[in-house]
């Protein structure tokens, strides 16, 4: 395989597993937060939901592969990287807007910094695989 392999095989499948797990983790967390105490930190909880949606889109992108999947994955990984950096920084300096933790708070500290590493790995993987067609 080597040079011609698609983004949805090899390390791509590891990314699929991790992204699916994070879509589930962030989505379930956001659902619980929004259902039980939305008024406490609406911004943080909506962000959790947005993060979950982006993880889901990235999962779909890495599963589908091909030109469309690659584009989806590229866009969602980029948004994620910006999101984790912006929200991470805001959560450190503007703590009053983020009284409760989200997946991206403190650069994903609550999740072993995986939310920070994941988009970087995703983008590196997309870069290392040649575009087909």
């Amino acid at each position: 395989m080597g040079d011609t392999r698609a983004i949805n095989t090899g390390p791509g499948r590891v990314l699929v597993g991790l992204y699916a797990l994070f879509a589930l983790a962030a989505g379930a967390r956001a659902a619980v937060q929004i259902a039980t105490r939305f008024n406490e930190a609406p911004l943080a909880y909506v962000l959790s939901a947005v993060a979950a949606a982006i993880y889901l889109v990235a999962t779909v992108g890495f599963v589908r592969g091909g030109a469309g999947g690659r584009r989806l994955a590229m866009i969602s990984c980029s948004i994620e990287l910006v999101g984790v950096l912006v929200v991470g920084t805001l959560s450190v300096f503007a703590t009053e807007s983020f009284p409760d933790e989200t997946v991206w708070s403190g650069y994903g500290r609550g999740y072993g910094f995986v939310p920070l590493v994941l988009p970087v790995l995703g983008l590196l993987w997309l870069r290392s695989t040649p575009v087909a067609e």
Binding site: P11, V14, G17
Partner: protein
């Protein structure tokens, strides 16, 4: 709980060992994963029995979410791994075993406040 975490990390290391040697998992790894899943199921049953007995963790919904994920993560990773019969398939199940350890730790943390 500690036994489950130790089992998870042991199985994870064993699977990552296969990946490091550029191998997919073998029968011994699969046996380890089955053992881990049995431990996770036993843990889930124990938790459900205590909940049925009237005990409630503080964040009940979160606890149930972790509990459901803890029994599903290893079987789903094995399915994904079977689709990817390379060293990366071994990485998938190794990562799932690490996740099982983290989930077990989180289950313990979410449960504890109510016992205190």
């Amino acid at each position: 709980m500690i036994a489950v975490i130790v089992t998870s990390l042991g199985v994870a290391a064993w699977c990552f060992g296969a990946a490091a040697r550029d191998r997919w998992i073998g029968v011994t790894h699969l046996a380890g994963l089955v053992l881990l899943e049995v431990a996770l199921l036993a843990q889930a049953v124990a938790a459900v029995v205590r909940i049925a007995g009237g005990e409630r963790p503080e964040e009940f919904a979160t606890f149930i979410g972790y509990l459901a994920t803890s029994v599903l993560v290893v079987p789903l990773a094995v399915v994904l791994s079977v689709m990817e019969r390379t060293r990366w398939g071994a990485v998938i199940v190794g990562a799932a075993a690490v996740v099982a350890a983290v989930l077990t730790l989180r289950l313990q943390q979410v449960w504890t406040p109510l016992r205190a």
